[in-house]
Each structure stands twice: as C-alpha cells, then as structure tokens.
C-alpha cells in the first residue's frame, strides 16, 4: 500500500518535472516586450514557468528546446486587469459603510467560469475587488489565472508580501439610506477621516509596544489592513468618478500619507493635472457611451489620452461585469482612437497595472526571469479583427482558441456559461437600477 503511494507520488513528480524542464521557444512573432521596443521575428524562450530570454537571436534557443513557430503572430505579456468582479467577491454587506475586515478571497468561487472569460480575453493577472456601494467594501485580492480548485491556488503575493489591496469609494456610490451610511459627500469624507485617525492611533500603539507583546493593542481586524495602508504595504484602490470626488481623494491622500490608485475616473480628464501633481496613478474604465448613472454622464473615450498628456500613469480595467473581460484589449484600442499613444495604451494593459499591484517584478513585461505569462495574438493588438489565440500562464497554456471548448467561452452559446457567475451581482443598489429597467 505504502509502496503504491510512494510510486504514485514519484510519478507525479516525474510528470511535473518533465513537463517543466524542457524549454519552449516561440519563434517568428512580432513581440511587444513592453519594457523595450517591439521585436520583429522575435524569439521568446520559457522554461519552468519563467522567461529564459526575449530577443531575436537564434542562438538564444537552447539545443533541447521545443520550437513553436508563430510567424505572423503577435506576442505580448499576459494582460493585467486592475479592477474586476469575476468570481463573485461580494465584500461588505449593507450593515455598515466601512468594512476593511471583509476579504474578497472568502467569497470568490475559484472555479467560476467567469475566469474563463478572462483567459479568453488574454488576462492572466486580476485584482478582484469587493463591493461596491461602501466607503470601504473590503480587501481586494490579486489572482493569477492558474488552474484552481481552492482560492489559494490563485493567490498572487506581491513585492510587499500581500495579495490584495483595500477597496474604497466615494461619490454617489457609497451614499445610501442605510444604517450608518453617509447621505452626503462631506459626511462620506468625514467618516473616512475619522477612521484613518483611529488607524493612526492604533498604529502608534503598535509602534510604541515595539517587541514588548504585553503592550501590544488587542488585535483588531478592521485596523490591521488600515495600518498596512498607512505603512504603504497595502494599496488603496479608490473608486472615484466625478472631478470633485477625485479631488477629495487627493485631499485624503495628502492628509494621511497613503498613495491610492484612482479607479474609473469618468471625469479624470477634468483634473488630470491635479492627479499628476499629486503623483497618483489612474486605473480607468473605457465604456461605449456615457451615462447609466449620474457619476458617469461626462465619461469620454478621451480620458486615457488626457491623463497621458498630463503625465499620469494610466492602466485599464474591465470592472467585469461592467465591461467584458473578453474585450479587454478593446479598452486600450478605443483609447488610442481618442488620442492615446499606442505605446502608453499597451503599457496600460500590462506593466502599469502590474506596478499598481506591486507585481511588476513578476509580470507586466516580457523579461528574463519574469513569470512566463504571455498571449499570442492573430494580429495587431488594437484591431477589432484580432483574436487572442493562446493565453499562457506560468509557462503552461491555459486557453487555446483552436480548442472548441475554450473557444466557446469566447463566443458564448447554448449552455456555455452557468447562470450563477458572480460578476453581475456586486453593484448594491445600482443593481436595482439594472433590474428595474427604469
């Protein structure tokens, strides 16, 4: 019996090892490494889940490598989606506007077929956000699109040692009639300021205690992530649309010394210079048409271009189910339509987002030593006719358009998606608007 177990175990290791050891070279594509100029007839070599080399020198292909010809294709890094709701992250409930202790990871279904949409869209790293509808919806979670049975299979720990940020919001999103919820913008800001003052005091107690555990304050689930925010370990991802609300975030950032990533930014174009001056980064949503809620009536495709011009680092996000993960490249393409540079638009799909999540040492560009996360495209990344043909995560192929079962997730069809995906049911009272059709 034990012998059999041992044998099986040995088999596992052997299979794993052989699958991992042989280098694979992708030869002939136009490669956008992102950290440098595009490479014609490029060669990407990967092994053991990481990138061995990127260039166009045939000598870089190891003798034992499997060579895959990808002539006329385009290769770029796996895309980084800085704001999504795939998997059903939920977050805080409506008993309270401030829920720093609620973790998205405790709610997400790691086997959700929503994640298949991400792979079909070329997305390999995702910041799944809880909420929305709170001043603080809870802790976000950074996921890598590996095979998963349990959420731990997907967790992606960053350079700061955490695998998530903290979701905040202001404006009408978090104003509602519920216990303790703010009814005005000023009240929203004051509630958050009080909270951070409390967190500062808690942090001080910890610092004062030093190594003396008897002097440590009692553990406080709500305060702990906030202390991480104040020390710069955990990033605040801040939903904010209107220009006045954006300026409120800038004010909070200055007062408490944290550097949030600004999300959505329908009116970011109005205060692009102010955002640049504050040294903050922008994660924007790109939507076909304005409206649908008051915060978004001045939304424009030009947001990316205007922010770029002011020098603000711009990443894109899907906010899936608001926009579709399968069309993530389109967000950047429409921004190019409205004046953004191709270069910055490509960076916005990859390295800029990776930096926002403190994951740029591992993903976001094709560089030696980074994770072998990349996508193979049929053509120009910004063409509507281009398809993501393959999505690779840590050296293994997770999506292949030539496989009918994978392709079905791209097109949709009868019985392809289950009806219990989580991404459509996160928008609190806004969901009521969706449903009412009114």
């Amino acid at each position: 019996m034990n012998k059999i177990k041992f044998f099986l175990c040995f088999l596992c290791i052997a299979v794993n090892a052989s699958a991992q050891q042989k280098p694979v070279a992708f030869k002939g594509a136009l490669i956008y490494p992102i950290n440098g100029a595009p490479i014609q007839n490029g060669i990407l070599v990967v092994q053991n889940g990481v990138i061995l080399s990127v260039g166009n020198d045939e000598k870089a292909i190891p003798a034992n490598a499997e060579v895959i010809l990808v002539n006329n294709k385009v290769i770029m890094p796996g895309l980084v989606d800085t704001h999504s709701h795939l998997g059903g992250p939920e977050g805080g409930d409506y008993s309270n506007p401030i829920n720093p202790e609620a973790r998205a990871m405790d709610a997400i279904d790691p086997t959700s077929d929503g994640f298949k949409k991400a792979l079909a869209g070329g997305i390999t790293t995702i910041n799944v956000m809880p909420g929305s509808g709170h001043l603080m919806s809870g802790q976000t979670v950074y996921l890598k699109m590996r095979d998963a049975k349990i959420i731990e299979d997907l967790l992606f720990t960053n350079e700061k040692g955490v695998y998530g940020g903290l979701k905040m919001a202001n404006g009408t999103n978090s104003m509602r009639s519920g216990s303790g919820f703010p009814g005005t913008r000023a009240k929203s800001a004051s509630l958050v300021r009080e909270l951070f003052l409390k967190a500062q005091a808690y942090k001080k107690k910890i610092e004062k205690a030093g190594k003396d555990s008897s002097k440590m304050p009692e553990r406080d689930l709500a305060m702990e992530p906030l202390v991480e925010v104040l020390t710069g370990k955990r990033v605040v991802h801040f939903h904010t649309h209107k220009s006045n609300d954006i300026l409120t975030v800038l004010r909070l950032s200055k007062e408490f010394g944290f550097k949030p990533v600004l999300h959505h930014l329908s009116e970011g174009w109005k205060v692009a210079d102010e955002i640049a001056k504050a040294g903050l980064q922008a994660s924007i949503i790109v939507i076909d048409a304005p409206g649908g809620k008051m915060e978004a009536i001045n939304l424009t495709l030009e947001t990316g271009a205007k922010l770029e011009k002011s020098g603000v680092p711009v990443a894109f996000h899907t906010d899936d189910g608001i926009t579709d993960s399968r069309l993530f490249l389109r967000a950047a393409a429409l921004s190019v339509r409205a004046g953004m540079s191709r270069e910055k638009a490509l960076e916005g799909l990859t390295i800029v987002g990776a930096k926002m999540l403190d994951l740029s040492s591992k993903v976001g560009s094709l560089e030696k030593g980074k994770d072998a996360d990349f996508i193979i495209l049929s053509g120009d990344p910004f063409s509507i006719y281009t398809k993501v043909e393959q999505t690779w995560v840590e050296g293994s192929k997770k999506y292949d358009i030539s496989n009918p079962a994978d392709r079905a997730f791209l097109t949709g069809g009868y019985g392809v998606f289950s009806s219990d995906r989580g991404e459509f049911h996160h928008h609190g009272d806004e969901e009521e608007d969706t449903k009412s059709g009114n």
């Binding site: 949709g412 009868y414 059709g437």
Partner: protein, 402 residues
C-alpha cells in the same frame, strides 16, 4: 413691409444655408446597394443624393463644398434602441420607456415622449447613426408604440419619419419581474391572447357598414387593430427559445407581422423562424449575458445570415452603465465573428431600412435617397477609426475637425 422682407430674406438664405451643396470624396465609397467604389464621389443637393460614382466619372460643380475622407457609408441605422426615451441620467425623471401601471398599453405613443435633445441621441449621431427605431421599452407585454426618427435636432414632429412603427412587446423573464401579474409564462401568453381577441371583435364591429353599430372609439383597441390589420408590426422582445416559439405561435394565431427582438437563442430555431417569415433584430452582443440572454453568442449574426435570414443589429436596451450600446461597434464585432464586411454593414443600413419600411428613403447611397451619410478616417469597424463627418438630410450635423 418688414415682415415680407424678412420672409424674402429667410426664403433666399435658408435653403442655401441649410441645404448647402456638398461633394464627398473618399478612397472607398460603400453604397451598400452596389459594390464598393474606389476613389468615389457622392454629390448632395437639396438634402438628397444627386450622384454616386467614380471620381473620374463625376465632375464636381465649382460651388460645391468638398469633404474628403477615407471611407463613406450610408448614415447608419439603429434597428432598435431606447435612446431619446430612456435618458442618460438613469433617474426617474428621464426614464420614459416603461409605464408600469399596466402590462398592456398599446395606446402609448412614442412621439409623446421622445426627446430629440437627449444627450445619448447626440452620442449616436456623432458615431454616424442617422436614423433610430426607438420608443417604448422592454418589460411589459405591450409597453407601447415605437417610432422611426432621424437623430438630428429639432422638434419631434419634424425629425420623425414614422410616428407609429411597431408595437413593442416583451415575452420572458423581465415582464414577470416588473408586474405582479403576469407572474408566469403561460399567464403572459394568455393575457396577450385575450387582449388580441378583444381587438378582433372590436375590429369586426368597426367594419360594419352601419356606423351606428360601431363601438366607441378606443385608443387601446385602435392600436391593436392596426397590428391585426398589418399596418404595424409586432416587435416582440424574446430571447429564450421558448419565448421565441411563443411569439411565433401568437403571430400565427392572430396573423400579425412578427419582428423578433433580442433573439439571443434565435440560432436554435432557424427553421421555425424562416417558416414563420419572422424578421430578426439581434441585440448588441457586448451586453451582459445574464438572465434571458445567458446563451447569447457573438456568432448569432453570422449563423443567421448564413442560413438566409436577414439580420439587423440593435443597440437594444441597457439599464445601467453604459446607458446605450453603439451599433457601429456591434456590427464591427459581428464582422470579427463571422460576417463579411459587406454583410456586417448591411445589418446597420439596408437591412434595418427594409425591416422598418423606410428603404425608399434611407439605408443605401442611391440617387434620390435622403443624403444621410457618414464619413470615416479608416475601416469603419476598426476600434481606432474615427467618424469624421456626419450628414443628415444633406446637412452636416457633426464634423470632427471643427
């Protein structure tokens, strides 16, 4: 004296000012009704198309203002939308598409609610959409009437082409969500049948030669009579196969003209749809595939077109962000998922023009048709291409350069 002078001034100046004579030169002109023309020219005079052809064959009169672009298409048509009825703000005061006081209200006219100044009408116009089929919404068995209108500014009576185009109906999950009754599919169908039977009786009485035997004029019955007489079509939003079949069964029983709207699962019922002579408007596939649209596929337009069904594409309805889809983008996606370029262009030009019964005026670039024209700086469907100029009835209503 003063009055007549003013009149003289207006009558001399306004036609020249409003209906300037325009020549459009483009690397490719897509007339839709004919093969694409390389290095083409379109001449516009007095609001109508005067000539379409090769630059070498058409001489441009010297007093014509010239617009140049890479590509030119007919003004685009959105086969079904709620813009102008369902406003950008998405708050009760700007939502006029669905009256929830009763599930069957065919008497509600779109022209009484449509707002030509609505922000989203401008958005559509600037994407080259020059005509829309808009009106009452989804979510009621009969929510009201629809209309066909140009997207130009002006009061509704001036811009509308067809004040009463179809009766907007819905069969499916969304109806039972919005009304306490009908609460089930079977009840939905029975309620529609009962109302149409009443209309049959009303109509028969109205045909009596003895006018004293006519029933009292009834707005609701009158609107339903128009459907039964074939003067207007039924626009039935039905996405699931079972709801599409219910629509076909109703159309057969009462002999009305059926347009299937949304039609997410139409690809499962190709033979039935063809047999019923039903027309099809497919919902924007960038919409969220939830509820009745769960089984939607991006390849619907391609599957149906290949099966010989004429497909029109609609922006449809959005209850949240974005408040509307854009048919230009949606047709592009259909082109990326199986339709040829020409077929995709037809889904937002001549196909909806025919379906709406306005193809004698719009839907292609042909001599004598309305000068509704859209100019682009590249392949119209490419993400990175911009609309540069839009004309409605020969007037430039959008010019990007300005």
């Amino acid at each position: 004296m003063k009055k007549s002078f003013l009149f003289l001034l207006v009558s001399i100046v306004s036609p020249i000012y409003l209906l300037a004579q325009i020549a459009i030169k483009a690397e490719i002109v897509y007339p839709v009704s004919a093969a694409p023309i390389k290095d083409g020219v379109v001449l516009v005079e007095n609001g109508k198309i005067k000539a379409v052809g090769k630059a070498t064959e058409i001489s441009i009169p010297s007093n014509y203002k010239i617009y140049e672009s890479k590509t030119v298409t007919p003004g685009l048509i959105d086969a079904r939308t709620l813009i102008g009825m369902s406003g950008v703000l998405n708050i009760p005061v700007d939502q006029d598409q669905l009256e929830k006081s009763s599930p069957i209200q065919p008497e509600l006219r779109a022209i009484d609610a449509y707002n030509p100044e609505e922000a989203l009408v401008k958005v559509a116009r600037e994407y080259g959409i020059t005509t829309i089929h808009t009106g009452h919404g989804i979510g009621a068995l009969v929510s009201g009437q629809t209309m066909v209108t140009k997207t130009k500014k002006g009061n509704t009576d001036e811009v509308v082409i067809k004040p009463f185009s179809m009766l907007a109906m819905t069969i499916g999950h969304s109806v039972s969500e919005k009304f306490s009754s009908p609460g089930t599919k079977a009840k939905q169908i029975s309620m529609i049948r009962a109302e149409l039977m009443k209309a049959q009786v009303y109509m028969k009485k109205m045909l009596d030669k003895d006018s004293t035997k006519h029933p009292t004029f009834d707005l609701k019955m009158d609107a339903l009579s128009k459907l039964l007489k074939g003067e207007v079509k039924a626009l039935i939003t039905a996405n699931k196969a079972v709801d599409i079949m219910n629509s076909i069964r109703l159309s057969k029983e009462f002999g009305f003209k059926l347009v299937l709207d949304g039609a997410a699962e139409a690809y499962r019922l190709i033979d039935e749809i063809k047999k019923a002579n039903a027309e099809v408007i497919l919902h924007a596939t960038m919409a969220r595939n939830e509820d009745d649209m769960l089984n939607m596929t991006r390849e619907s337009a391609s599957i149906l077109t290949k099966a010989g069904i004429s497909v029109s594409i609609e922006s449809g309805y959005e209850g949240y962000v974005p408040k509307t889809r854009i048919v230009l983008f949606e047709a592009g996606l259909a082109a990326a998922y199986g339709l040829t370029f020409d077929e995709a262009l037809k889904t937002i030009t001549i196909n909806p023009a025919r379906l709406l019964g306005v193809d004698s005026r719009i839907g292609s670039l042909e001599v004598g048709k309305d000068a509704d024209i859209t100019l682009f700086d590249g392949d119209p469907f490419e993400y990175t291409t911009n609309v540069t100029t839009v004309l409605i009835d020969g007037v430039v209503v959008y010019d990007k350069i300005k």
